[in-house]
Homo-oligomer: 443 residues x 2
């Protein structure tokens, strides 16, 4: 066996850009994961999962060879093709849907939550391993309804965590509407160069952007005017007005659906939202916190399932990571403290058992704890050697337990309800403790 | 964009040895994970997690360079040391404990459940990516009590899933006892060669085994006699007899603890259990189903935390994978059906909303579903275009929903309790549906 040496120092830390989760860290992560899961289930999504690594090709089919440098890839000898850790789940989702498309319901509503990996140089807020939540609706012919349902589950999660429209805005756009406005403003042929340019708009100096737009034959004032008109119409639809002959029908239909769902206050059309990824085909959206940080993003991708060998399939979805969301909750003081998280996750002990200091009580400790656990009760005990009952009761209270069970002998115990700080009037025979300390109704 | 071609066929399947989880598959996996988590929490373990990949060195420190060929390893340019997907969690656990040993409680009780990876050639029952559950107790000076607690949480999981001592046996041994017997039977010096030989005993022809034993100077009859005596003593301790001057004190103390916990029927001492991994230092055990398949295994590893730069630390733990356990539950008809799993996991819909076929009812569908979900109720709806209420009610029943909500207009609904197949006597105004369809008590 090797002895640890100074050269092992780096080995004995988590790789840069990954995280260790001690119990309190993991409880905060599980709190977010549990909120993600609950929102998904409430909205009728079914959970799926796939391999942590896929054939490298699966990612280049969707994103081109440019993605390879962002992937952790590896090979095995013996003629196996190279693999890569998943940088996102959508290719796996498209693969799963394509493989069983004829048997799957219409629509298919799937959610997924697990880890993704990016091989970029680690920097602040950018991890190499992070958690991601996805919801997707595939095969729905009513695109505006499916788009609205995707936005609804995302907003419901934010709302369930205590965020409000004062904290976050769902900024919505539609690539089809943008393409239509680009064409009306003079761009001929494939709208892609126009979309690519618009995606860079916020980062380019205005004169440079205008020069590029002119080179594409684009009348910028006309384009901006058309999009402003579309946004106005959507604002009116979100406010409950009926739009006759909407200039951009799909955006207006989406706005009408969002209004029916009671989501008007959360949503705004923003013509500047384009989203770089090339595969979006219609609605795109980002959830923006405090005017700048993207908490979630997604959109419609009607060509992807076909690209993976399936039938032409309507598809819309979004992804949300844990890092920005956690920062936001912490800043807004919406991340509960450790004790509240333990309660929310059902992790608070039901009983905490301690002996009163006598050898008889001591001798009953192991069997009593085992019997309570066998009855399904989350039971902790003191492992301290002290016989100071006051100290042990403090340990019980610190554990967040509902009941302290003080063994008075090898026959009976005193029960103290720590949630009300009251002691039961009569001692309880040890044999009837499991029935008397009934599990909570939810167990 | 690339068009799928015959060469993409392999790409469009999960890599060999990994799994796709469609909703029913994932629900079965979540059922097992949820049982693992519940048993861990009941027994007072706190959950931790670490990176999916670690520095490759972390695994060679524990297991030597021989493990490298079994790992999925990969490198990045720019002077970063190589990484490997975790083949097991114990090195990460030891790293986490060593890094914060002074601040951590004594004992520290941790559990972990997630995926592990092995780069071996895939074969039946051996996957390249699989789920693993670990429980570990670190820093307990009462080794027999900690060993018994580790066995207890493992047995509690098996019992909670419906397995009994007729299905599985916890076969226990103690490397310290084996080393003592080896020494008494003539082996001088380091006991390792004797342990290595014993680990191969079941696979070697008896004459060959005897030859190797003789070469080590071992009196095999004497060794077997000593171990049989130890097993007899433990059997007596498990049956409640007090053993004076036990020949193998640690095994007898463990047996006494197991008896106090009510676990005697599950456990047997088996001198043939050695477990190949070199790092065990005391108690070792395997849970054996139907006399042959190992469902779980573990033991005491008092040197490992020190090897990772921490203080000398008592440590004991075990691991259980999902593959053998799932097969066993299925064979024993203990894997619930899809509907029962959905109920157990809280995935059954609370309400299923369908319009009665009228345009007014149709127009209220989106808003009603959104309002129920906002109230926290798991709500599904029909997306079918049929107006045949009978067909839609069948869809509601097939979903496993508790209530069918039949929209009668844009003002009211009929509620049908599908769990009792009774209809509520009066129609319900849509606005009061969220309060009248109260969430279950556990929500």
């Amino acid at each position: 066996m090797t002895t640890p040496s100074p050269t092992h120092k780096a080995t004995l830390q988590a790789p840069t850009g990954t995280r260790d989760f001690y119990p309190a860290d993991l409880a905060r992560r599980r709190f977010i994961e549990s909120a993600w899961r609950a929102a998904s289930v409430r909205h009728g999504f079914d959970e799926i999962d796939g391999p942590t690594f896929e054939h490298l090709d699966l990612y280049t089919i969707k994103s081109g060879d440019g993605i390879v440098s962002e992937l952790f890839s590896f090979s095995r000898s013996g003629g196996e093709k190279p693999y890569a850790l998943r940088p996102e789940f959508t290719p796996t989702l498209a693969r799963l849907f394509a493989a069983r498309a004829p048997q799957l319901p219409r629509p298919t509503k799937w959610f997924w939550q697990s880890t993704c990996f990016r091989a970029e140089r680690p920097q602040r807020g950018r991890l190499r391993e992070f958690l991601q939540w996805n919801c997707d609706i595939l095969g729905s012919e009513d695109r505006a309804a499916a788009d609205a349902e995707i936005i609804a589950v995302c907003v419901d999660l934010l709302s369930a965590l205590g965020l409000t429209p004062a904290d976050v805005t769902v900024k919505i756009n539609d690539r089809a509407a943008v393409a239509q406005a680009l064409a009306q403003a003079g761009l001929t042929g494939d709208p892609t160069p126009g979309l690519v340019l618009l995606d860079k708009r916020a980062k380019l100096p205005e004169p440079e952007f205008a020069r590029h737009a002119a080179a594409l034959g684009l009348d910028l004032a006309r384009f901006d005017g058309l999009m402003a008109h579309a946004a106005d119409q959507c604002r009116a639809a979100l406010a409950g007005h009926t739009i006759d002959n909407p200039a951009f029908a799909s955006l207006s239909a989406l706005a009408a659906n969002l209004r029916q769902m009671g989501l008007s206050a959360w949503c705004a059309v923003d013509p500047s939202i384009v989203r770089g990824l090339a595969y979006y085909t219609g609605m795109v959206f980002e959830v923006i916190a405090d005017g700048e940080r993207a908490v979630a993003g997604g959109g419609r991708y009607d060509n992807l399932v076909e690209l993976f060998g399936g039938p032409p399939t309507s598809a819309v979805g979004f992804g949300m990571g844990d890092v920005v969301l956690s920062l936001l909750l912490t800043e807004k003081k919406l991340m509960p403290d450790d004790r509240a998280i333990a309660r929310a996750l059902g992790l608070a002990p039901h009983a905490f058992v301690l002996p009163n200091g006598s050898p008889e009580a001591e001798s009953a400790l192991v069997a009593t704890v085992a019997a309570l656990r066998r009855a399904g009760l989350h039971t902790r005990r003191s492992y301290k050697t002290t016989r100071n009952v006051g100290k042990l009761l403090k340990e019980a209270a610190d554990s967040g337990a509902h009941f302290a069970v003080i063994l008075e002998s090898d026959q009976e115990a005193t029960v103290k309800d720590l949630s009300t700080n009251t002691q039961w009037p009569a001692r309880v025979p040890l044999a009837s403790l499991p029935t008397q300390l009934k599990p909570p109704a939810s167990a």
